[in-house]
Symmetry: C3
Subunit: 300 residues, 3 copies
């Protein structure tokens, strides 16, 4: 076919004839999180950029379980923004440097015994992570090389494509209901876009963690590969996506995701206030303390 | 995993730490159907409550085909409301006490040769049944042990989970188009939420009755089991759902179903008037009389 | 079952008791394209009407690749409108008289080096084709007997049912992104209604052309049959759909498609202006000229 050849040619030359286009690329409103000015430990997200390929790899390295602390989220957003603004980078592969876990989700210590201001700052960072990743102009591929509950699952869902290690011990899902918590509406919207309404409804109600084979069967991940081939496969998939001219792909992505992105942007502060009032309840605090106790006992 | 253990613990103790929560449980507007004051034959819906398990079974027993008459619907709504308000009940299994049929759907005799007032009362009862069941705070499992056309299918679709007897002679579907009737928009919305747009579009246009295996293939029912194991399987599924803390599960359900529920609530009277003006047409009355004649001849 | 028998009887007699109905059949606003008055070469769309069956076949015959030129689209719309108004016609089968190709999509020569007025006229004709076909009161079956990229795929998606020749060399898809072009929102809406959000998102971003087997797997086509049986199978499927009473089927179709139709109707002129400003850009014109050069070289 001629079209793929042209596409590859346009993609390769860099001087796409399609610099301007029908419609506009998405632009997020200014972030309420002054990420650039926050001090943070610059070592939870390792970034490697292959300039010749135009592909960066972001490796989560926050042992023991890559939990999404405020520091992690801040570093993640800053790293992503840098890549977004780097013309040498057209795609990002997200993966984990910690064995057996992709990310365990939101860090419970950030939600327990802290001030209202802290809760607000933390929740805005969670929103920011999702807004930036779901609207990224780059191709985003999740190479899920370990378990990925709750917020970890959200990161994978937010990418363009999900490849998971073919290990039945690894599981993935929005299991918030298991902890007595309700996933926010934008977690839900992202999930419905991937697996459809019926599967999302029962999976969210049950707080299901799906084994890798089951996750593949319900469409939560796009393909499974043996763990040792995950990296190569992610690179190959990325090449396939980068063979397309960026601009048309970006506008198409915006068209598909705009409704769901707009919904959070329109209700962002409301969503923060909901989170604060929910998490500040004594009943919830007690439940989270119980949960952390259980985790500690399990460890020792 | 620690999370399921905590969930089970919270679910068992009854004193969930999550009595209040982020968001609010759904509350229907006051019903225009004064169900509690209607006289009705209290024997079309058998209710058995297993208090130790927190699970009720509602058995449809209105031979020959469990058609949804005004009496049936009234009794169904009252029974459901009682269970909803009973703290000892957390889940309901819907099934049939009549062999080979789950429910044949709306009772045509209620729609033929009656007064405008009667049509209005009947239609409000149909709406009420759906509104209460779709928004129920309880876990609702349909144990479909027979054929389930039209309104019978709607009842199954409205539950959280559908298990069907593995009998290829049993069929299920919204077959209204076969009778020259259009399924109301909220039947359609419920159907689309379960099977997606493409399948709903052709199935509704063709008025398809799907055999049990086909219904499973298209996602209309979640699983098939041999008929003799249906009851046990429904109980096991219910246990799985009840292992979750109620409150998070309820709020999640509301989040998933609110848009579709709100749509009928906002257009309820309009929907009643549409039904009345449709069903009152001489052409429709003639068509329904023809249909009832055919049923009578078939019987004799 | 009695219901199908009644349905067949009502469908056969022609004097359906359901002449009026609950709700109203769709009516498009007056077309801005005065199709009836355009001169056109009346030979790109062959129409054969089998009056006894109530079924017309529209064969695309515009070699070499059935590209959707302004002439083709005008003829298509006029032919479709005639059939729509012909009481003897209840269903249409769309297929190709050109070997190996169903339709190659929009004619690029109509978009290259022409006046603004021409672009507007062309785009309105594309909209018109989709609006008429997606809202047709007739049963529409696509018998896809060749490859069907871009606008060709749109025609198939816009029908009620899609049967494709079981030839792995034939492909189908909305591959606009391969040419650096973004599919309009109503192409996307139609696609999402058929394959769901996840598949549409990656397929549109990648500009995927799916082989026949893959197209079947993702639901883009409803079934595959050996090429020599395609015509017979399309006729059999049509009979199945025509066994239903027209009126209920038409109202059901309207109910399913109205939201997506309304969206283009509400934004029609805006969509025309978007197209003009996009296609008029020098970068796009250059890209299209490159593409046409490639096609020419390939041919010679």
């Amino acid at each position: 076919m001629a079209a793929p050849a042209l596409a590859r040619c346009m993609a390769r030359t860099g001087v796409l004839p399609l610099g301007q286009a029908w419609g506009r690329a998405p632009r997020l409103p200014p972030s309420p999180l002054p990420a650039q000015r926050r001090a943070f430990s610059n070592n939870k997200v390792l970034v490697e950029l292959d300039e010749s390929a135009g592909v960066a790899t972001m490796k989560f390295k926050s042992p023991p379980v890559n939990s999404l602390s405020l520091d992690f989220l801040t570093e993640f957003c800053i790293s992503l923004e840098k890549l977004e603004n780097d013309r040498a980078c057209r795609g990002v592969i997200l993966t984990s440097a910690v064995p057996k876990i992709f990310s365990s989700g939101l860090d419970i210590t950030e939600m327990c015994g802290k001030s209202t201001e802290h809760y607000a700052e933390f929740w805005r960072a969670v929103q920011e992570m999702w807004l930036r990743l779901y609207s990224s102009n780059m191709v985003t591929v999740a190479a899920v090389n370990g378990s990925s509950p709750a917020g970890g699952c959200l990161i994978a869902l937010t990418c363009d494509y999900r490849i998971m290690a073919e290990n039945p011990k690894f599981s993935i899902g929005l299991n918030e209901a298991q902890l007595g918590i309700v996933a926010p509406f934008w977690f839900k919207d992202t999930f419905v876009n991937v697996v459809g309404h019926r599967v999302a409804e029962s999976s969210l109600q049950l707080g299901s963690l799906h084994s890798a084979p089951e996750a593949h069967r319900i469409g939560l991940v796009d393909e499974l590969v043996p763990e040792e081939k995950l990296k190569d496969r992610a690179t190959a998939v990325m090449q396939q996506w980068l063979a397309l001219p960026d601009h048309a792909r970006q506008l198409t992505k915006t068209m598909m995701r705009k409704a769901v992105l707009d919904r959070l942007v329109a209700h962002r502060e409301e969503d923060v206030q909901n989170f604060i009032s929910f998490i500040s309840k004594e009943s919830i605090q007690k439940s989270l303390r119980m949960y952390m106790e259980m985790l500690k006992k399990k460890k020792s």
